[in-house]
């Protein structure tokens, strides 16, 4: 297993290299450069030209690429051209925020999706099954940023006007913490963070949860027809044990594959949702960096996302072997 993991990580190196090269070409092919935002009536073209020279943007593109690659490989991600801060510092601040949001969403996607899928399969063709199918389709068809806006409008604004609405269900509209966060005690801090996490993670995760539920339902229905389920019933096991022990683990096998597939979606979704909820994460940083042609920051954020996706896929493959004893990696 260890050899397998090491081999997979080594295989990822050329992949990541290919990705950053491609991104480098694409951002530089886009019109404009980082100096554009400094162009103002009071700033003379010579100053702009001087900035370009300082940042090395006047050199031929392949020289720029090689010099960027050289410092990148030595671990130097450079300095953000717009924030004038080391990129490492920016990433250190933003990465955990994005991981918190995507982690919460991931948990929501799989916990809710799997639970609903099981219920639907067990109660196939019941009214509940139909209602959940319709609901899943509805949520699945909804764009995450719009859902985010609706959640803010209703659960973070309208309900605040209602006297009787419980305070716990009045959610904050943006940010990761409340204004009085620094004055809170330990538990209150945790509560405040969780409270801020609810709406964005729902906005980010609900569509995927709906599709996981669809997959889980059909996977479960497939498993329930198997001979070994009849064997389990013939042993006198309760329906609960039959479903949650004998059927569930088998039904999860195809779902584990989804884990690897959803992670990239989750990160790209995070870009929009972080914007809507003013969540100080990687997604927002990346979008801002792209708009401002902050080349080093674009490269660094893209690279980090690519690494996340590679790792997530590796984890999915390892999980596969954990759930299915028939799979062994050499």
């Amino acid at each position: 297993m260890t050899t397998y993991i090491i081999r997979r990580l080594l295989q990822a190196i050329p992949l990541l290299l290919g990705i950053v090269t491609l991104v480098f070409i694409i951002v530089h092919a886009a019109p404009g450069d980082p100096t554009a935002m400094y162009v103002q009536p009071g700033v003379s073209p010579e100053v702009i030209e001087q900035m370009r020279e300082n940042w090395g943007l006047d050199r031929p593109i392949h020289i720029q690429y090689l010099s960027w690659l050289r410092s990148f490989l030595t671990g130097d991600l450079g300095v953000s051209l717009t924030q004038n801060r080391p990129i490492v510092a920016i990433l250190a601040e933003r990465i955990p925020n994005t991981l918190i949001l995507s982690g919460a969403s991931l948990l929501l996607i799989f916990a809710i999706g799997i639970a609903i899928g099981i219920v639907q399969a067990v109660r196939q063709h019941s009214r509940l099954d139909h209602v959940l199918t319709l609901g899943a389709l509805f949520l699945y068809s909804m764009p995450s940023f719009w859902l985010g806006l609706m959640l803010i409008l209703i659960l973070a604004y309208k309900v605040h006007l209602l006297e009787w609405w419980p305070a716990v269900l009045k959610f904050p509209a943006s940010g990761m913490t409340g204004v009085d966060y620094d004055l809170m005690g330990g538990w209150a801090k945790l509560g405040d963070r969780l409270h801020h996490l609810v709406l964005p993670s729902i906005a980010l995760g609900v569509a995927s949860a709906a599709s996981v539920a669809r997959y889980m339902r059909s996977s479960m229905l497939e498993v329930i027809r198997q001979d070994y389920i009849r064997t389990a019933r013939a042993k006198g096991l309760s329906e609960r044990t039959v479903i949650l022990k004998h059927a569930l683990k088998n039904a999860l096998l195809p779902i584990v594959t989804l884990l690897g597939l959803y992670i990239p979606f989750l990160f790209s979704g995070a870009v929009l949702v972080e914007y809507v909820f003013s969540w100080p994460g990687m997604g927002r940083t990346m979008v801002d960096a792209i708009y401002q042609r902050d080349y080093p920051l674009v490269m660094a954020t893209t690279f980090i996302f690519a690494v996340f996706v590679v790792i997530a896929n590796l984890i999915a493959d390892i999980l596969y072997a954990v759930v299915d004893p028939r799979i062994r990696y050499e």
Binding site: Y228, T231, A234, K235, L237, T241, K245, H246, P325, R326
Partner: protein, 338 residues
Amino acid sequence: MGAPLLRVEDLRAYFHTADGVVRAVDGVSFSLEPGETLGIVGESGCGKTVACLSILRLLDPPGRIEPGSRIMLRDRELTAASEEEMRSVRGNEISMIFQEPMTSLNPVWTIGDQIAETLRRHRRARPAEARRRAAEMLRLMGIGFPEQRLDEYPHQFSGGMRQRAMLAMALACDPSVLIADEPTTALDVTIQAEILDLLAGLQERLGMGLVFVSHDLGVIAQIADRVIVMYAGQVVESGTADEIFRRPRHPYSEGLLRATPRVGRKMQQLSVIPGSVASPKLWPSGCRFHPRCPYAWDRCREELPVLRGEARAVRCWLEEEPARRTGGWDGAALAEDR
């Protein structure tokens, strides 16, 4: 002696589907004594498996046991038992093993876990105790190194070994009835013989009643004390194994026997029963076997014969009009062979 170990009376199991009622099992009765082996024979689709599943009340909807059917385990009426009661019967008093050992074990749990589970469920055994007993069961089934085997998964077992593991699971709680639904059909002939020997030996040792279902008369002849022959959801003939195999009285049993190859008997061609079992949605009128019967006459097309007799019973009008037993299978088989 009091009530038999297991008594099935007028068992009817129907599937109420959108396009009609499928009468898969239509009035089957039999009984089983401790230590006895009852063979159930018949072609595919004649209701054997549905009958077995009904005894454990394991039919999936839309299948259901019709009112009026009775399944008595000693003096308990299983058709009236609650689901909870049934769960304490399944795997504990009545166990069942299935045709496909390859797919009947759960691929993602270890063999040991699957055997021990039965013990934990019915005997409230602690994990260590259940494991010890599971190893003991595997050894009893003739599996070497049972301790190591417990931690293996079904895919690491061969077909024959999986059926042994199924048996270990089924017999772990020492049930009084074992229902074996074509347990050897999917196995190689040599493995098949081993499993049959094992079953016979276990039965002698544990004294359980065994219901053995097969379409293979050779296998039934080897293992059964008494035999019932099923056709189109009904019993058409019953008797001791000897009686059925030496002197079959129902034309269907006759045909089945003729279609079984035997060592030492030279045959140019294996005879067949022409046609196939009718659809259970629309059984033929009169005797359900008449479209394939070489003796059939008008009465067979119109009236369903009753099962006449007690221990030795036959469902055929020939019992009333024996003079009509002329011609028979040779003509029919030839007609088909042409």
